[in-house]
């Protein structure tokens, strides 16, 4: 099939960008969205044009590299998946698809669809760790954890740090990411040592990076490829209140 792509092209942060139209022919329904971009890039390179830069790595929805806003939705229209898991069988011959990078002041654009997400790394480094020496793997029953806590912590730990929550948030807030990273530790015994310090430092770092305020739109949960609940944000606020009072 033939897909009409409108892709954001921008040489670098200091040059203005624009949407450029491409007609991609010979797209197979079995291709993933990223494979369609590979296909486009091959065509561009054959013509001697610059290929479209986009982030990718595992291509199976676990690395959090791919970041594309597809027709106004982070990771595209499919629920609970990253852009790499979206397949072209969901599109029809002749469809027009608009592809843009994550838009957030805290994620400066590098080139085309690639943005710098190291703000997330700095939030994580501000407190998303434990300093206790855990030693060798203990027996499974040595540290009892309630089933519900274990499940919820695991759900939060599924965050791949892709940044879709920020991209989709009308305010470009990083609350879901930061909330998941904080609450995952707060639920587990290993996370207790730095519990208060962690939430305050990570929340302050989130602010420093220039992410927006949360308005409880819940769009982040809707686009999250790991379907992390905004309960993580409520828990972050609870943790924060406990830490400052």
């Amino acid at each position: 099939m033939t897909i009409n792509l409108r892709v954001w092209r921008q040489k670098n942060a200091s040059t203005p960008g624009k949407l450029v139209d491409y007609k991609v022919e010979g797209v197979s329904e079995h291709m993933s969205f990223l494979e369609m971009f590979d296909h486009l890039n091959e065509q561009l390179m054959k013509k001697g044009d610059e290929p479209v830069e986009f982030d990718h790595d595992c291509r199976e929805g676990i690395c959090g590299s791919c970041n594309m806003v597809i027709d106004g939705q982070a990771h595209g229209p499919q629920k609970g998946t990253a852009a790499c898991q979206l397949h072209m069988r969901h599109y029809n011959d002749g469809d027009t698809i608009v592809v843009e990078p994550w838009r957030a002041a805290a994620f400066p654009l590098i080139r085309d669809l690639v943005v710098d997400r190291s703000a997330f790394d700095r939030i994580q480094a501000a407190g998303g760790y434990i300093s206790v020496n855990t030693g060798a793997a203990p027996d499974a029953h040595a540290v009892p954890v309630e089933k519900e806590d274990a499940d919820v912590a695991f759900d939060y730990a599924a965050c791949i740090g892709c940044g879709a929550c920020v991209a989709a948030c009308p305010n470009a807030s990083a609350s879901l990411f930061t909330g998941a990273k904080i609450s995952q530790f707060a639920r587990l015994p290993q996370g207790q040592v730095e519990r208060e310090r962690r939430v305050v430092r990570m929340v302050e770092q989130m602010e420093k990076e220039g992410f927006g305020d949360c308005s409880n739109f819940g769009e982040c949960e809707a686009v999250c490829p790991k379907e992390i609940s905004i309960q993580a944000i409520a828990e972050m606020r609870r943790e924060y209140m406990k830490a400052i009072t």
Binding site: R6, W8, L19, V69, D71, G72, Q73, P77, K79, V98, E100, R103, A104, A105, A106, L109, V152, A168, P170, N171, A172, S173, S175, E196, R197, V200, V203, E204, M206, E207, G210, F211, G212, D213, C214, S215, N216, F217, G218, E219, E221, A222, V223, E227, S229, I230, Q231, I233, A234, E235, M236, R237, R238, Y240, M241, A243, I244, T245
Partner: protein
Amino acid sequence: MYSLLTAFQNSVGRKILTGVTGIALTGFLIIHLLGNLTLFTIDYADADNAFNRYAHFLHDLGWLLYVAEAGLLTIFLIHAYLGVAIYLRKKKTRGTNYEVVKSRGGASKVGFSSRTMLISGSLLLIFTVSHVNHFKFGPGWSGEPEYTQQMNVGGETTEVRDLSKLVFETFNQQYEGAIFYVIGYVGIMILLGFHLRHGIWSALQSLGAMNKKLVPVIYAVAGTIGILIALGFLVLPIYIYFL
């Protein structure tokens, strides 16, 4: 270890404060509505009625009333300031705007009420100023004889303001311009309904009173409470208009 003061320099603190002040304002609305409900039962021709007595009781609280009013004004201003601040910040945090934006639906709460919080909030702020000016500081505030009545309060003859008369003259069809007041009030109360539709559940989420299973329930319950409050307020001018 960490002080409350630093909390309001970040997004989580601002959100908590917005939630606390929002809940307080909702509480005020409920009390205000309960007071207003007496307007459904009274005889407007008789100034010695439950509404005027309730208004007099509040007025009689003296310094307590001033404290409550000052508190309410502070809460109102903080809430409005934070709303505007959050909106202004959002312009900066997005950077470049998207060419295409579409909500995913599903768990998303993006909709008319959540996207118009600043607009509904700003109009409510303007409305509140005019509302207080019209009723509290309106006719009868400085003891005009046609809006005051001698009444027996706790065994003593006291001069009480006839506020129900002002309410009646504002909204009843026999008075000129009443229809515009009715339409205006109904319109603003519909906006209040939308504001509370997102506001009440959002405040609970901001205060951390949420878990995954509760979200749909609280979202529905909060919406119902918001709509009921707005409905309670907006039925009243219509009722008085047709009296």
